[in-house]
């Protein structure tokens, strides 16, 4: 019998978005173990994609296509899961106020979802008040903040400060990222972690929830 998991894994790594639905469909029909299909065929495929991106072998266009491919495959499998697909953790993600750049954030979200996290995306240009409000409302394990501009980086510090002021800082881990951000800055503003790319962000998220 053909190795469906390996076929799906390869299709995602190579971003064969036009074929993925057919491949997953066939895997499901042939009775493949769905959790193995997700874990080894999809999540591990995105781990490989993330590493290739971090190593500069592939770039954003290729990564976006792999993520789209995975998402298409995952959507097909979801209805067959009987509510036992356990979540890795809840994450709220946002690009901070004044910043409209969202590719980095979106890539992190796609990778986190691939890794089994439940992600709420607050979009771009998100002000401190609505971030605090959402943390209160959704009680996430992790809050992920993104900024591409050096001009908007200080907003991250303001968010952390605001969380402290309302007594929510201990309830949520804060991770930060974006082109101008580095570990030094993350430490300085009191964030719990920094990821330099989407793959590192997923690793970090896993560490932060103790997975």
């Amino acid at each position: 019998m053909e190795d469906h998991v390996e076929t799906v894994r390869k299709a995602i790594i190579e971003g064969r978005h036009r074929e993925i639905e057919q491949l997953v469909q066939k895997a499901v029909e042939d009775g493949v173990d769905l959790h193995r299909l997700i874990q080894e065929g999809m999540i591990q495929a995105m781990d490989v994609v993330g590493r290739k991106f971090a190593d500069g072998i592939i770039f954003v266009p290729e990564m976006l296509v792999s993520a789209v491919t995975m998402k298409k495959g995952l959507e097909l499998v979801k209805p067959f899961l009987k509510g036992d697909g356990k979540s890795s953790g809840r994450v709220v993600m946002a690009t901070v106020r004044g910043d409209l750049h969202d590719i980095g954030k979106n890539l992190v979200i796609m990778m986190l979802e691939g890794a089994g996290f439940q992600v709420t995306d607050l979009g771009v240009d998100t002000d401190v008040e609505s971030l605090v409000q959402k943390v209160r409302e959704l009680n996430p394990h992790i809050l992920g903040l993104s900024a591409l501009l050096t001009t908007t980086m200080p907003e991250m510090a303001r968010v952390i400060q605001a969380l402290e002021e309302v007594g929510l800082r201990d309830k949520v881990k804060v991770m930060v990222g974006g082109a101008p951000v580095d570990q030094k800055f993350a430490t300085q503003i009191g964030a719990d972690g920094y990821g330099k790319d989407a793959a590192e962000a997923v690793e970090l998220a896993r560490r932060l929830v103790g997975a």
Binding site: V60, P61, E62, L64, V65, I103, N106, T151, A179, F185
Partner: protein, 338 residues
């Protein structure tokens, strides 16, 4: 025979790989406006994006207050996109302009307006260049700036959307958009040269953080070669990010110089393409200029000078909160000579 050491001569000679003067020139292909500079000349954002006189005065402050050898009056990446139908929020003293929509996210055909150069966001740059020409023409190098079709495509279709189409191999769609935008870049560049610019910066963000060198080579290199052959003056290419893996491709694009980031080591850049085109850069923005001390900036500028970079300057548009003293440290480093 020695060269007269005026800012103009030093810059243009550096740009063309000519004789060296008594010190390296200092230039800014991208904005060096910070709050300190706005305070120093009494002109600030968003006025300086919208009014030609204000725009020119702020550019002039880069020479008069900080001591740069170039003046460059364009501080946003949205002059063309505003003329092509993007809704632009011109920001303020502490916020750079940003576009609020992507008018061609469906990759529909782009009709370049016949009166493109008369659209307010284009006219203002041309008028500012003419004002600068009247004030400092022949003494200080006047640089203009245009966006290339790759950057314009980000603005027309949305960056993620555009890159996804590239990833999906929608070659025809992607190439059609690039081709439709090319005339905007070429006509704006030539109009800037006629209005008073001595050289133009071609900013086209096929950066190492977003796309691979193979994407640049397939989609953009042929277009850059065509654009540079049709622009009637010196061209400085600006592509930020780590572009070490595509320097040789840039050197083949027909530009006279490449403006590069700190992520690309200056010595390596000079070794790879210093013989083919000139290099402009590459003092680090977030760590040195924004968060560092004047000594940090000085040290980086000296490193670039000693590596053989032809014109010294920040790596990209500087953060608005950059201390003026840090900016001046670049000029200080250049004054020490070679």
């Amino acid at each position: 025979m020695s060269m007269k050491n005026t800012p103009y001569n030093l810059v243009m000679s550096g740009l063309m790989g000519g004789r060296k003067g008594h010190r390296p020139p200092v230039g800014n292909p991208t904005s060096i406006v910070c709050q300190g500079l706005m305070d120093a000349c009494g002109v600030s954002f968003p006025q300086a994006h919208l009014d030609a006189q204000a725009m020119a005065e702020l550019a002039l402050a880069g020479h008069e207050v900080v001591g740069f050898d170039t003046v460059m009056p364009e501080y946003s990446v949205h002059q063309e996109s505003a003329a092509l139908g993007c809704v632009v929020d011109w920001g303020g003293r502490d916020r750079m302009p940003d576009a609020k929509n992507f008018p061609h996210s469906d990759f529909s055909d782009i009709q370049v307006p016949e009166n493109l150069l008369e659209k307010p966001s284009m006219r203002v740059v041309l008028d500012a260049l003419s004002i600068l020409r009247k004030h400092v023409g022949g003494q200080v190098a006047i640089w203009g700036k245009v966006m290339g079709p790759w950057t314009l495509s980000y603005h027309m279709a949305g960056t993620q959307n555009f890159l996804l189409q590239v990833g999906m191999g929608e070659k025809e769609k992607v190439k059609r958009m690039l081709r439709q935008l090319m005339p905007v870049t070429i006509s704006f560049a030539n109009a800037q040269l006629k209005a008073g610019a001595d050289a133009v910066v071609l900013a086209d963000h096929a950066t190492g953080n977003l796309v691979g060198p193979y994407t640049y080579e397939e989609y953009l290199l042929p277009i850059h070669q065509e654009i540079t052959s049709l622009i009637g003056g010196p061209v400085i290419l600006h592509v930020c990010g780590n572009c070490m893996d595509r320097l040789e491709l840039f050197a083949r694009s027909g530009v006279d110089a490449y403006h590069f980031e700190w992520q690309v080591d200056a010595r390596e850049a000079v070794r790879k393409i210093g013989g083919a085109i000139s290099l402009v850069g590459n003092v680090n923005n977030p760590r040195a200029l924004l968060q560092g001390t004047p000594e940090d900036v000085y040290e980086q500028a000296r490193y670039a000078i000693e590596a053989g970079v032809d014109i010294i300057g920040p790596e990209c548009a500087i953060p608005l909160a950059t201390p003026l003293e840090n900016l001046k440290a670049i000029v200080e480093a250049a004054r020490q000579g070679y």
